[in-house]
């Protein structure tokens, strides 16, 4: 069955797997399976020496990013604009310096951080699940219920900031965790595929959020709740002044703490080791006595907590009211991109989050330069697609690296009369 096929090409440890009863893999596995999330063990590359394997792991996302920008530039060229305008906008978005016209505005830097914060957290969410071999397509929904819980606590609890804000953040993370635990539990208990369940839960969260915002907390204009008390906010005039009136707020503190926590859980704890083991090969992990089902459910819950925290930070940092949404805002998809490009490693996720945050925050700058800001989405999607096509990219890298070696090998083969087809 499916389990055996996977084993055949998986880690050496899987040699023991056929001994384990494959009851876990139900026939309904169909929908989608991440046998090999980026950043985990790569069975396809088994033939390559270890060093090259490691170097490729960093190179693939870098090449993917470069190709993504290449595609973006080509699209801009085809539609009759200059890609240089885009790069100028991007540089301005990152440094605040306008190269073409001169001038410096730190507001752009603040906006970059604002855009990066939530997608770093959803990236951590997706990445954490990846490490356990799960694909969390539900960060969007987990973020929404996190935002909803944050709204509830912000509006109903009265406390000084020092208590109120942490309480709100915890509520957001908790709610996201519960929402994430649902697909985790269903996966562990019934082996229902998490991708489909989380997609369905995203839309459930959207409508549940809207109903609650509009009917329980009452909306001023059918869009948002009343404003939160000042004690509930992460905003700080000092930070705003520092960045010339950007929306920068203290939200980056919990984001950094989350990055550290992610790294610590995954790399430094027995629990994290168990999660990774399940991601590598769940049959082997079970054979080694690990609680696979518990790990699967817990992993999704923790993943959900990261996304829920993102929702809370958006709600009390970027805004100061709860929001009814007409559609998903794409933070979940962004998170998938961030986790893939960041290779599910904390430092990688930080960098990838800043990269995609840059594409978002430079949007208005591009727009004013006459380039539709949606080019950011096109570049982001291309990068994800290229990371997914890692086999092709590896081939490109191999060719670039081994052109000479290949030619020599080909010549040798021709001499031996092996190439006749």
């Amino acid at each position: 069955m499916a389990a055996k096929k996977k084993d055949a090409k998986a880690t050496p440890a899987s040699a023991v797997a056929p001994l384990a009863t494959p009851t876990e893999t139900s026939p309904l596995e169909p929908a989608v399976r991440v046998a090999n999330p980026v950043g985990s063990f790569d069975p396809d590359a088994g033939h390559a020496p270890k060093v090259i394997l490691k170097r490729n792991k960093v190179l693939v996302p870098l090449v993917a990013v470069a190709l993504g920008f290449l595609v973006g530039s080509i699209v801009i060229l085809i539609t009759g604009k200059s890609p240089l305008l885009m790069f100028n906008a991007l540089i301005q978005g990152v440094t605040g310096i306008n190269i073409a016209l001169g001038g410096f505005n730190p507001r752009h830097i603040g906006e970059l951080v604002i855009q990066a914060m939530p997608i770093i957290l959803t990236g951590l969410s997706v990445g954490f699940a990846f490490r356990t071999g799960l694909f969390n397509t539900g960060a969007e929904g987990q973020l929404m219920v996190g935002a909803l819980a944050a709204t509830a606590v912000a509006l109903t609890v009265k406390a000084p900031t020092i208590i109120h804000v942490p309480l709100i953040l915890l509520a957001g993370a908790g709610a996201g965790g519960i929402w994430g635990a649902i697909p985790g539990y269903l996966k562990a208990r019934f082996n229902v595929h998490e991708v489909v369940v989380t997609i369905m839960l995203n839309y459930t969260a959207l409508h549940f959020n809207n109903w609650t915002i509009l009917n329980v907390f009452g909306s001023v204009d059918r869009v948002k709740t009343a404003e939160f008390p000042v004690t509930a906010l992460l905003k700080d005039p000092w930070l705003a002044d520092l960045t010339n009136g950007s929306r920068l707020n203290w939200g980056f503190v919990p984001v950094i703490l989350s990055l550290v926590l992610y790294w610590f859980i995954i790399e430094k704890t027995t629990f994290g080791y168990g999660l990774r083991a399940v991601g590598f090969n769940k049959d082997a992990a079970r054979y080694a006595g690990m609680k696979v089902k518990r790990n699967v459910a817990l992993s999704m819950a923790i993943a959900g907590a990261f996304a829920g925290l993102a929702g809370a930070i958006i709600t009390i940092g970027t805004f100061n009211f709860g929001r009814a949404l007409s559609a998903a805002e794409g933070y979940g998809f962004d998170g998938i991109a961030v986790a893939l490009v960041g290779m599910t490693q904390a430092p990688g996720i930080l960098l990838a989050g800043l990269l995609f945050g840059m594409l978002k925050s430079a949007g208005p700058l591009m727009q004013s330069a006459g380039i539709p800001k949606e080019i950011g989405g096109i570049i982001q999607a291309s990068i994800v697609l290229f990371v997914g096509m890692k086999l092709g990219i590896e081939r490109i890298i191999d060719i670039a690296r081994g052109k000479r070696a290949d030619r020599l090998a080909l010549a040798a083969a021709e001499n031996a009369g092996e190439v006749g087809v």
């Binding site: 499916a2 096929k5 055949a8 090409k9 139900s26 026939p27 309904l28 596995e29 169909p30 929908a31 989608v32 399976r33 991440v34 046998a35 980026v38 396809d44 699209v75 539609t79 009759g80 694909f135 397509t137 269903l186 019934f190 082996n191 229902v192 595929h193 991708v195 489909v196 369940v197 997609i199 369905m200 839960l201 839309y203 459930t204 409508h207 549940f208 109903w211 009917n215 007409s326 559609a327 794409g330 998809f333 998938i336 539709p372 949606e374 080019i375 950011g376 989405g377 096109i378 982001q380 999607a381 291309s382 994800v384 697609l385 990371v387 997914g388 096509m389 890692k390 086999l391 092709g392």
Partner: protein, 318 residues
């Protein structure tokens, strides 16, 4: 009274059901061939954009026929777009969910980008008329059934019906269908019988692209006046839900599509139906999604979906 409302709901429910059914049939072709397609939503967006744009452009030249050209354009655009998914997941053995996700992100960016280039705004220009409703002569005189299915109905509903039958025939009664299913169940076994798994899977994905593109164009030309970023609003995922709820079978898809079409329609009519009136509208929006999760749990452990869907096929491995 209540019955009257039900009859009134029918044309609207059929309008909602048609794109759901068509896109789900697309998903069926892809998943039966072994390629998971969560990009239905994105392909629908591209189809909807292409359909709307084509209709707007052709309207002055070919009044009346423009929407149908739009439909064809939507199909073509969907096919083209799905080639990306096929290439990534078949040739380059990309994870199918990753590649599908990329297409979903790409669709939003690409369609709005092109709208800005072509129409200088965040959406396409509005077309003056989409597809027109038709009344089938004679058949509409049948008591009850005539009013339900043949009076003031969008023709795309009949297209959807025809496609259900066609899909059933192709999948279960033709050699191609048998090969397609074989590739979705056990590609290695299929390959050992001389079937070109790559080619069959390409066919599956491209057919799914054509159908999802058709569904998107259908949707925008029957339910909207222009393409916007929210034109498709999750219908691709409802189609995915219908596919699962309908157990990867065309007739099941038909039933599920009807059901979800009705549940959307109910949200408009609930206030007039006494026993539904107290329920919040959101209940009807959520229904398809929650039911799909329930269905998945109920099906758990039974052989339902294509066994090899989502698995990466590598010719070199047996």
């Amino acid at each position: 009274m209540r019955f009257g409302i039900l009859l009134e709901m029918f044309p609207i429910a059929l309008m909602f059901a048609a794109p759901i059914i068509i896109a789900a049939l697309g998903g069926l072709f892809s998943e039966r061939s072994g390629i998971v397609n969560i990009a239905l939503e994105g392909i629908m967006m591209v189809g909807a954009f292409a359909g709307a744009a084509m209709t707007v452009v052709l309207e002055p030249l070919l009044p009346g026929w423009a929407p149908w050209m739009g439909i064809l354009m939507g199909m073509a655009a969907g096919m083209l777009f799905s080639l990306l998914h096929a290439f990534a997941s078949i040739n380059l053995r990309a994870d199918q969910v990753v590649s599908g996700t990329a297409l979903n992100i790409l669709a939003g960016g690409l369609t709005i980008y092109l709208s800005q280039i072509l129409f200088n705004q965040q959406r396409t220009r509005a077309f003056s008329s989409g597809l027109r409703k038709i009344t089938v002569p004679l058949l509409d005189k049948i008591p009850l059934l005539g009013r339900m299915f043949f009076r003031e109905i969008y023709p795309t509903f009949y297209v959807a019906m025809a496609l259900v039958v066609l899909t059933w025939f192709v999948i279960f009664k033709t050699p191609f269908g048998l090969r397609l299913r074989a590739c979705g169940e056990h590609p290695q076994a299929a390959a050992s019988m001389g079937i070109n798994v790559y080619r069959i899977r390409y066919a599956g994905v491209v057919i799914s692209g054509a159908l999802a593109g058709l569904a998107g164009a259908t949707m925008v030309l029957t339910q909207d006046i222009q393409y916007t970023i929210t034109s498709v609003h999750g219908t691709g995922f409802i189609a995915l839900a219908s596919l699962i709820f309908g157990k990867w079978n065309p007739w099941g898809v038909l039933g599920a599509g009807f059901f979800f079409g009705f549940s959307q329609t109910l949200s408009f009519y609930a206030k007039d139906i006494p026993f539904l009136a107290p329920l919040p509208l959101e209940v009807f929006y959520i229904l398809p999604y929650v039911l799909t999760i329930v269905a998945l749990v109920v099906f758990a452990g039974k052989t339902v979906g294509p066994k090899a869907a989502g698995e990466i096929y590598d010719q070199g491995k047996r």
